[in-house]
């Protein structure tokens, strides 16, 4: 909404609805969500259980389809994107971090982390190298050849996060990423996420932990399938996002063209 037509926001949702069930069991998990996410935002989505946070995240990640309303990703209506193309967008641009770890049990840590790269057509050796680099940044380089069941819960979730970050996605969708970590590891993860965020990535994170919202640039609270409060409306969050921009400019040269325009648009 705040976006100028020349620079489409990364995510734009217009009156998005998601219905489950039919007849008397009919129930709207999302009941008219309007949301615009600009590039480089770090959004924390809060709200009680069953308010539609996860459904929203799934739809943004193109794992689920909305019943009604529009979803524009990079200005393109998702409904017009073919299934195969959606998959390749998921592979290259979207990183998922799940509430449960969702590692593949029979693959070792390194292979698990390298998995998303498979689907963006990167050679095996290179995939392993990249995965190894990411694991190093999570201080898991000594666990590369462990199997998932040999890791502690915290380590497992860090591996899962490493996997989400390995393809260097522009949007990271995290559903309770620190739900299974102690506070110390949580903060390590959150630092890592804000590091990624500083490089110009857009992050959407569902969380129950209010402490973690301090890492976010914008906090959204949801209630009964609608957005209840959004800190983007007050001007308080604006300067923060603006500050981040120059950093992202240096980190991602090809996309710099968009950013000055976007800043203008925001102002």
């Amino acid at each position: 909404m705040a976006a100028a037509p020349a620079t489409p926001p990364v995510i734009e949702l217009r009156d998005l609805k998601k219905r489950f069930g039919v007849g008397d069991a009919e129930h709207y998990a999302l009941d008219g969500v309007d949301l615009t996410v600009e590039k480089g935002e770090f959004i924390a989505i809060m709200g009680p259980s069953g308010c539609g946070k996860t459904t929203l995240l799934n739809i943004i990640g193109m794992l689920d389809q909305s019943t009604d309303g529009e979803f524009l990703l990079d200005g393109k209506n998702v409904e017009d994107i073919r299934g195969g193309k959606q998959a390749s967008i998921r592979a290259k641009q979207i990183g998922f971090i799940f509430q449960s770890f969702n590692l593949i049990e029979r693959l070792n840590v390194l292979e698990n982390v390298a998995l998303p790269l498979t689907y963006s057509g990167i050679h095996h050796t290179k995939r392993i190298q990249r995965a190894s680099d990411v694991l190093k940044s999570f201080h898991l380089q000594n666990r590369e050849y462990y199997m998932p069941w040999q890791l502690s819960g915290g380590q497992t979730q860090r591996v899962a996060i490493a996997r989400a970050l390995v393809s260097d996605p522009s949007i990271i969708l995290a559903d309770e990423p620190t739900g299974n970590l102690d506070s110390k590891s949580s903060h390590i993860i959150m630092e890592e996420l804000s590091e990624i965020h500083k490089k110009g990535n857009t992050i959407l994170m569902v969380t129950h932990n209010p402490n973690l919202t301090t890492y976010a640039t914008r906090v959204i609270t949801m209630l009964d399938g609608r957005i209840d409060t959004d800190t983007a409306e007050p001007t308080k969050q604006e300067p923060k996002t603006v500050k981040k921009r120059p950093l992202s400019k240096s980190a991602k040269p090809p996309k710099t063209k968009k950013k000055p325009a976007k800043r203008k648009a925001k102002k």
């Binding site: 195969g84 998959a87 998921r90 998922f96 969702n102 693959l107 057509g121 095996h124």
Partner: protein
């Protein structure tokens, strides 16, 4: 795409290695089907090869005259005594003369097989054939004598030439010249022993290793003085066109037989046709049976793949979330099915040849190797994998990622 293929292969291998026993048993299902098909093809190929080789050895100048027979039907195969098996042959002794008078004829040899036992006072071989023929058989059929001589126009009537095996069965030695034995109670003296041929299946339908060859005159005496000829082999002079020669034979014999077309003339590959027809039919029936076991193997693949798909529902969901398209998921599972059926097919192929060799120890011909068998079994096993792997693959591809990820929480 190539990249993805190697990835799929890696993934499939990992998941197959995880459940080794299950994979092995599924492969076994395919292997059994492919093995039986390989065995059948190898052995039936062996038969055709044996016959084809004999025809080739005969040279292209041989024509075979047989009583006319309708093409064998299914009913004939199940009939314990097909009507033509014991019927009297229309070939007559004067046909031999007629044929030898044809300008292009080089030699004529009739074959008159007689029923009746061959024995000595001490032993009775359970397998033997009595053949009455003329001296030219040795030339026409290219028979080799290992000891003594073949019957000729001056040899006495109660002399015989015996096959190596028959000689051993009768006298315990293949050096049996001068020994006496009985045909239908009449005494014959061995004047020659044939060289071992090892061709129990041939276009003459006579195993010369087990045969006692007597002169046509002696044969006639056992049959009330009338020659009862089952087959006449004719060789043409070098350079004769066989098609016209065969027509010539046909027309002159038809004239002999009151204008009845009651004989068939075969040349070249046709000679072996009746025999190979039968074997082809038998092997076709067996191949159908074998392909049923292949289908069962395929159902096994489908079954195990469906189990795999539901076991790995969460993995499928995750793979989709990290960017696998439906197509990618489908091909991953399809390739897994193809690996099972491919390796199963390979095992079956090797096993089939092993079985074929074991069987060939008990039967008179060897299995053949031909690339067409390789092509058949390869395409069958790949086909089975693709056919029965397709549905599980599609099912895997259609899984809803969210529901798949939600499971087992």
């Amino acid at each position: 795409m190539q990249l993805l293929l190697s990835d799929h292969y890696r993934t499939a291998r990992q998941s197959l290695e995880r459940s080794r026993l299950r994979t092995f048993l599924t492969m076994l299902g395919v292997a059994i089907g492919i093995a039986s098909i390989t065995t059948i093809l190898a052995l039936s190929g062996g038969v055709s090869k044996v016959i084809g080789k004999q025809v080739a050895e005969l040279g292209s100048q041989v024509a075979v005259v047989r009583p006319h027979a309708a093409l064998p039907t299914l009913a004939d195969l199940s009939n314990p005594s097909p009507s033509n098996a014991y019927s009297t042959s229309p070939l007559q002794e004067r046909d031999i003369t007629t044929l030898s008078e044809l300008p292009a004829t080089e030699a004529v040899a009739p074959l008159m097989t007689l029923s009746g036992s061959v024995r000595t006072h001490e032993s009775t071989p359970n397998k033997s054939t009595i053949v009455a023929t003329t001296p030219s058989l040795v030339k026409v059929n290219n028979l080799k004598i290992s000891d003594g001589q073949f019957i000729d126009s001056v040899t006495k009537q109660n002399t015989a030439v015996v096959g190596t095996q028959l000689s051993i069965d009768l006298f315990g030695t293949d050096q049996s010249i001068g020994s006496n034995f009985l045909i239908r109670g009449q005494s014959f003296t061995v004047i020659g022993v044939l060289k071992r041929q090892n061709q129990p299946i041939n276009y003459n339908n006579i195993d010369f290793d087990q045969a006692a060859i007597i002169s046509l005159e002696s044969g006639k005496l056992f049959n009330g003085g009338v020659a009862q000829i089952q087959q006449i082999n004719v060789t043409a002079k070098p350079g004769t066109a066989m098609s016209t020669f065969s027509q010539k034979i046909q027309s002159s014999l038809t004239k002999n037989h009151d204008d009845q077309k009651d004989i068939d003339v075969f040349t070249g590959k046709e000679i072996a046709k009746p025999t190979s027809n039968l074997f082809q039919f038998i092997s076709a029936v067996m191949a159908v049976v074998a392909s049923i076991s292949l289908v069962v193997g395929g159902v096994g693949i489908m079954n195990i793949m469906l189990v795999g798909v539901s076991e790995r529902t969460r993995e499928i969901g995750l793979r989709k979330a990290v960017g696998a398209s439906n197509m990618t998921i489908a091909s991953q599972f399809l390739i897994e099915a193809l690996i099972i059926s491919g390796i199963g097919g390979l095992l079956g192929f090797l096993g089939g040849y092993f079985i074929a060799f074991v069987i060939s120890l008990m039967i008179p011909y060897d299995p053949t190797f031909s690339w067409s068998i390789v092509a058949w079994t390869a395409s069958l096993s790949i086909g089975v994998g693709a056919l029965f792997g397709l549905y599980p693959a599609i099912r895997a591809a259609r899984k809803n990622p969210i529901e798949s990820l939600r499971r087992y929480h």
